[in-house]
């Protein structure tokens, strides 16, 4: 445990600068706006008073770093400003929508893991056979298919033709968990193909590497049955690979969720950011980007910690 604690501290020391730079990137987005950002933010037919109000809200009249420090200070206190559109608090808006996105992403990750890991194991243990080739080709399809197109096809087939699952919409997980999962099934499946494909490939190549290594050869030579070799030695050694790959997938799942949430009219943060970008509601855009990047960095830290608990060699090496 001592090694793990030290590793967490060291990772935190590395992550804090990354976190600060990431928040700076989000803040600095305002300065990409053409012309006076206050005028752009105020919209087309804004009055002079409204422009001044926005200038004061963002503090555009102050020095650059002071603006950033103020913004970060407010963000740390959950104050991300107000929507230019609905005047709602951005933080409240995001908090009310985040659970929908998290449900989809976690659901997709689970679907991807329960399909990708077995497929990878199957392909590795049947290396070079037709089954292996079929699984590998399937994985190639999985990374190339546009998730939102798959989503449209699923709506057309499972919702409109067969009437098995609802086409669009979402139910809050806090109100009715079963209904929420029922509604999230199609979008989560549309999101999951990337995870399935990447896990299949990574598990396959990691397992092939482990199974080809010296210690497995020794175990086999000592007469251990192939099943025992695979289940108790091969898989234990790829657990870290699975965890790491799954952790990295969060980033891409949030990314795909932006588009898939639009297909299924899910009121998550993904549809929120694209809708807000279209309507020039910039505080909301910034808020969503900030929350998601902080989440991703946090998840990466968590994965590192779990990895070092699972495999003490990781903690020792960092």
């Amino acid at each position: 445990m001592h090694g793990v604690g030290r590793m967490v501290l060291r990772r935190l020391a590395q992550l804090i600068p990354v976190m600060i730079i990431a928040t700076f990137v989000v803040f600095a987005l305002v300065f990409l706006m053409p012309g006076d950002p206050a005028v752009t933010l105020a919209g087309e037919f804004a009055s002079e008073a409204r422009i001044e109000e926005i200038r004061a809200l963002y503090g555009f009249d102050q020095p650059f770093l002071v603006q950033y420090a103020n913004w970060l200070w407010n963000a740390l206190h959950m104050d991300l400003g107000r929507s230019l559109f609905s005047n709602e608090e951005v933080s409240t808006l995001i908090l009310s929508r985040l659970p929908h996105t998290v449900l989809l992403v976690v659901y997709a990750l689970i679907l991807g893991a329960v399909t990708g890991v077995p497929l990878g194991i199957l392909a590795a243990t049947r290396q070079g056979t037709r089954l292996d080739k079929a699984i590998t080709s399937f994985a190639s399809l999985g990374v190339a298919v546009p998730n939102f197109w798959l989503g449209i096809i699923l709506v057309s087939t499972f919702a409109l033709d067969w009437r098995l699952l609802p086409a669009t919409g979402a139910v809050s997980i806090f109100e009715d968990p079963l209904q929420a999962i029922y509604y999230a099934t199609l979008p989560a499946f549309a999101l999951s193909t990337n995870v399935t494909a990447v896990l299949t490939r990574q598990v396959r190549s990691a397992l092939l590497e482990v199974l080809g290594s010296q210690f497995i050869r020794t175990l086999r030579a000592k007469g251990l049955r192939p099943h025992a070799v695979l289940w108790s030695h091969g898989l234990r050694n790829i657990a870290a690979t699975i965890l790491t790959v799954a952790g990295l997938q969060f980033n891409l799942l949030f990314s795909s969720a932006v588009i898939v949430e639009s297909v299924y009219a899910v009121p998550g943060v993904g549809s929120l950011i694209s809708y807000s970008a279209l309507n020039k509601d910039f505080p909301v855009v910034q808020g969503v980007a900030l929350v998601l990047v902080v989440l991703v960095i946090g998840i990466n830290l968590l994965v590192d910690v779990l990895n070092s608990i699972l495999d003490p060699r990781v903690a020792a090496s960092t």
């Binding site: 989000v26 987005l29 706006m33 053409p34 891409l252 932006v258 694209s274």
Partner: protein, 302 residues
């Protein structure tokens, strides 16, 4: 006459090496395609796609924006091979014009990533020290953003449109290339022959141009090919959200958005643009994997 003759002989002397180089390279290229069916198929498909996009004004049976309200959401027929959309526009023609936008978008995003990522990666790998430390943390920070989220946010700030959207996507890709290039630069810089070159008094510029770039660029070529597929998918997604290509211009993602609105009346309209995106992404991925095997023979094809 003598002048011409002399000139001709001179020309012949200076150009002798190149004709012998070009055919052998071409021959090697063709041999590669013959030995690698996957690469041959992918390249053929991409070549046809580029031709379809470039020659769209000549080949497309209709204008991509001509509406015909008498023939909306038509089934595929002899006049409209892939049917028509909700405004009566020919789907095949829009698909061909959309190819141009898709290829432009993928090329632009990856181009931006190369222009930013490669020099930055070489530079920080070469100088090391605190500059490397700081820039590497910036790279980590940009990579922590979900790519489409960053692209949507940057596009929202710059202004909505295909070029801005792809600049944003390219900015998000640049750190991947910078990281690869940095790692490669470190490997090459630590190798013996570079030490030898330094011993002979080679300048920094000479080192980077003659030793580091040619040796470090190989994995970048593979990564660039694979990124083209990701950029293509990003363009389709952003255009689906109307953040990329703007109506009435044709784009595969935009076509899918319209097809989705009329899915209950004309479900057939959703297939062609989706297949176009899927096949093009597959082709870029296949080509990237094949180049990886070609450049690094130790990589087994599994």
């Amino acid at each position: 006459m003598t002048d011409l003759n002399a000139n001709g002989r001179n020309m012949a002397r200076t150009t002798t090496p190149s004709p012998s180089v070009t055919p052998s390279r071409l021959a090697a290229f063709l041999r590669w395609l013959r030995s690698d069916l996957r690469a041959a198929l992918a390249l053929t498909y991409l070549l046809i796609l580029v031709l379809a996009a470039v020659l769209a004004p000549l080949l497309a049976p209709y204008s991509p924006t001509d509406q015909n309200i008498m023939n909306m959401l038509a089934e595929p027929s002899a006049e409209h091979w892939l049917g028509t959309d909700d405004l009566g526009r020919d789907t095949l023609s829009r698909l061909m014009y959309g190819a141009g936008n898709a290829l432009y978008a993928a090329g632009l995003a990856v181009g931006v990533a190369v222009v930013i990522g490669v020099p930055v990666g070489v530079f920080i790998g070469f100088v090391g020290g605190w500059i490397d430390e700081v820039v590497s943390r910036v790279i980590d920070a940009v990579l922590a953003f979900p790519p489409i989220v960053l692209a949507v946010a940057i596009t929202g700030a710059l202004g909505i449109g295909l070029t801005n959207a792809m600049l944003a996507v390219g900015f998000g890709f640049a750190p991947y290339l910078a990281r690869t290039m940095r790692a490669q630069t470190l490997v090459v810089r630590g190798s013996l022959y570079v030490d030898a070159a330094v011993g002979f008094g080679a300048s920094r510029f000479h080192l980077i141009r003659k030793h580091i770039l040619p040796n470090a660029i190989q994995p970048v070529i593979v990564e660039v090919t694979l990124l083209l597929a990701v950029a293509l998918l990003a363009e389709a997604g952003l255009s689906f959200l109307s953040l990329g290509v703007q109506a009435p211009e044709a784009s595969w993602g935009g076509m899918l958005a319209r097809a989705y609105s009329y899915i209950e009346i004309a479900p057939a309209q959703m297939y062609a643009p989706g297949f176009a995106i899927l096949c093009t992404a597959l082709a870029f991925n296949a080509l990237g994997e094949s180049i990886r095997v070609l450049l690094d023979p130790t990589v087994k094809r599994h």
